[in-house]
């Protein structure tokens, strides 16, 4: 099982690089959405004996939420706002990719330094999680469009979700579903605010949000 899991995590890490290199919003949203679906499948692979129906429920909710619902909302926001689809970066695409690649290597090295349980030693869960968190930060800092920043935030959340899979056998699923709910509601609210910013500023360029400062 660990082989399939690692393959999926590897693919998710590939999505990070794809997200960093995308110059258009739809491509960025697609990379994020595929990553969300990959994450949704993982809890099913981590079950050893029989499949718990609650794990299946969490998996379905994750695929539905991270893979379909949230990307759909963002796509609609992109269309409704009628913004140009090009992403304007603060940090260029090549530097972002280099940072992302360097970060992935650093994540693998760092994960070796942290002590892990025997059953987690062979998996890419910790490096994958750290690499996604770093990718999320690069997108949050390095992109000017509000929607691109939201994608960065979601990739950051995906990284944390990957880390959370280490605990899937010990934390009650109530906590997991609560977290998933909060994240989904959070994106809804972010979507509403993006819409309001679009109306108030006639743009989704966060470089225009500079009134408030000392």
């Amino acid at each position: 099982m660990s082989g399939t899991l690692n393959l999926l995590i590897g693919l998710a890490m590939g999505m990070n690089l794809l997200a960093l290199g995308s110059s258009r919003l739809p491509a960025l949203i697609r990379a994020m959405s595929i990553q969300g679906m990959l994450l949704g499948v993982m809890p099913l692979l981590m079950e050893h004996e029989r499949l718990d129906w609650r794990v299946v429920l969490v998996a379905l909710a994750t695929i539905g939420g991270k893979g379909i619902l949230i990307p759909g909302l963002l796509r609609r926001a992109t269309r409704a706002a009628n913004i140009e689809r090009e992403i304007e970066p603060f940090i260029g695409f090549i530097p972002s990719l280099l940072l992302g690649a360097g970060g992935t290597i650093a994540a693998v090295a760092l994960a070796r330094a942290l002590p892990l349980l025997p059953e987690h030693v062979g998996t890419l869960l910790v490096p994958g999680s750290l690499a996604s968190i770093l990718t999320g930060f690069i997108l949050l800092i390095g992109r000017a469009k509000a929607i691109a920043q939201v994608c960065g935030y979601l990739i950051l959340e995906n990284g944390i979700y990957l880390f959370g899979l280490l605990l899937i056998h010990s934390t009650p699923l109530l906590v997991e579903s609560g977290i998933l709910l909060d994240v989904t509601v959070g994106v809804f609210i972010i979507g509403i605010i993006v819409d309001r910013i679009q109306r108030a500023f006639d743009s989704l360029d966060t470089r225009k949000l500079t009134t408030l400062r000392e």
Binding site: G164, L167, V175, D182, I189, L212, E214
Partner: protein
């Protein structure tokens, strides 16, 4: 009585308010629910229930030491809210009232949460719920502030989730079952995996520190407090920040049980002093009197962290300071809200002579300023004195010197802005604008009551309150 009612009653009130048809009468839900909440909280305060150790939620000594202050602040702010929403009757208040009540329920849950995951869920929910309150004014500036709040606050809260997972993994790796209740984490103590505990501590301190508004993660605070209505500022600064602070206290006691107490205390001391320093420097520079209150809040969050870093005496002082800061800061936010409404601008360059235009609010604002800068005999003076005493007993001479210097600088900063807007001759535009604002009893009594409570807290701290703080300290610093 079941402490769960503290959570259920406000949430039910929020649902009712959301469906209440009349915009004019809906604000009365705020004081009604607030009053019920205060009565229940103080009933539980006097008759504390027995908490089963492995419960996920419970009115434990720490909740008992802090929640009544939040409840009291909410009630007084709610009374102010009725008058405020009457003035702002042109804006629909359905979401505003419902969300404020929901926040009260979620804060009660957050203060009582004894499970790391549950604590995170409630803190995140409070963060998200506060969003509609911040852009109530519907201006581009308000949306800009909300966006920054969401991005910075969201990232912070995400990091605290990662920290919670790391603490869970510390328990798993140390041979535990990964149970995330604080009781079982503390019980595992030295069995927790050391590297993971340290990782978790850093992430949780950064995460909940963002929510508290500790420097350098405070950047959302001036924007949000500057653009939100005064009542929202009061509840955020006095209520929401305290839940993040108690989260840090609870995590600190787990980290201390794992044998990393000295490291935790040192980081808390450094981040507290840094927050005070940053806040003091910005206070000397800001020209906006609502942003000024945000920086003052950053400073007081720093004081709380310093208190928490100084052992039992310091932690008791910090809990005292939670009370005195919540009540005093509430009074300042409400009177600043009055002045903002009358003056029409938050900048000291445009506003002058408010002592002539709104004499009573200006008087309350000045008195509140003396209270918050720790002039005797108000509450903050005594709580900060206790922090200084704890720090001198622990032989932190340099830290005490920085602490006192920052307090002095903050005093200069606050007086500079406040006397700038209170004194002088009013501008003609300000004069015209202030005609639309009448200083009714409804907008004056709440800040006055909060200031009175702060004075009472300083002069006659009730014995039962001291006992509650000591009980909470005993929970956080168990004697082996």
């Amino acid at each position: 009585m079941n402490p769960l009612l503290l959570i259920i009653v406000p949430l039910v009130g929020a649902a009712l308010a959301a469906f209440w048809p009349d915009n004019r009468t809906r604000p009365w839900f705020l004081p009604a629910v607030g009053l019920v909440h205060v009565v229940m909280t103080f009933w539980l305060f006097i008759n504390p229930p027995i908490v089963t150790p492995d419960a996920w939620l419970g009115f434990d000594p720490l909740a008992r030491a802090v929640l009544p202050a939040v409840s009291l602040l909410f009630l007084v702010s709610a009374v102010y809210g009725v008058s405020y929403l009457r003035i702002r009757s042109e804006r629909p208040n359905r979401v505003f009232v419902a969300v404020l009540l929901a926040i009260l329920g979620l804060l009660s849950a957050g203060h009582q949460a004894r499970h790391l995951g549950l604590l995170w869920i409630t803190t995140e929910a409070v963060t998200l719920a506060a969003v509609p309150l911040l852009h109530f004014n519907n201006t581009p500036r308000a949306f800009e502030a909300t966006w920054k709040y969401l991005l910075v606050g969201g990232t912070g809260i995400a990091l605290s989730l990662l920290g919670s997972f790391c603490l869970g993994y510390a328990s798993l790796h140390g041979g535990g079952v990964g149970d995330l209740t604080f009781t079982s984490l503390t019980a595992q103590g030295a069995g927790l995996s050391h590297p993971w505990v340290l990782t978790a501590w850093v992430l949780l301190l950064v995460g909940y520190g963002t929510k508290m508004g500790l420097a350098p993660m405070h950047t959302w605070k001036p924007d949000a407090y500057g653009e939100a209505p005064g009542i929202v500022g009061a509840i955020l600064a006095g209520g929401v920040t305290t839940v993040a602070f108690t989260a840090i206290l609870r995590v600190r006691s787990v980290v201390a049980a794992a044998g990393a107490g000295p490291i935790a205390d040192r980081t808390l001391l450094v981040i507290g002093l840094f927050s005070m320093l940053v806040a003091a420097l910005f206070l000397l520079g800001t020209r906006d009197y609502k942003r000024m209150l945000a920086y003052s809040s950053v400073e007081h969050m720093g004081i709380l962290c310093i208190g928490a870093a100084l052992g039992t005496a310091g932690a008791a002082a910090a809990l005292f300071h939670v009370w005195s800061n919540s009540l005093t800061k509430g009074s300042l936010f409400l009177s600043a809200g009055n002045i903002r409404r009358a003056a029409g601008s938050p900048l000291m360059d445009d506003v002058r002579g408010m002592a002539v235009l709104t004499p009573r609010s200006a008087a309350l604002f000045v008195a509140g300023m003396f209270a918050v800068t720790a002039c005797p005999p108000f509450g903050p003076f005594f709580s900060e004195l206790q922090v200084v005493r704890a720090s001198l007993t622990a032989w932190h001479g340099v830290a005490t010197a920085i602490f006192l210097t920052c307090l002095l600088l903050a005093f200069f900063g606050l007086t500079r802005v406040i006397f700038g807007i209170v004194d002088g001759r009013p501008h003609p535009t300000t004069k015209a604008n202030s005609k639309n604002f009448v200083e009714t009893i409804g907008v004056l009594a709440p800040p006055f009551v909060l200031l009175g409570l702060s004075l009472w807290l300083g002069l006659f701290t009730p014995a039962i309150l001291r006992e509650a703080w000591l009980a909470a300290v005993a929970q956080l610093f168990p004697t082996p």
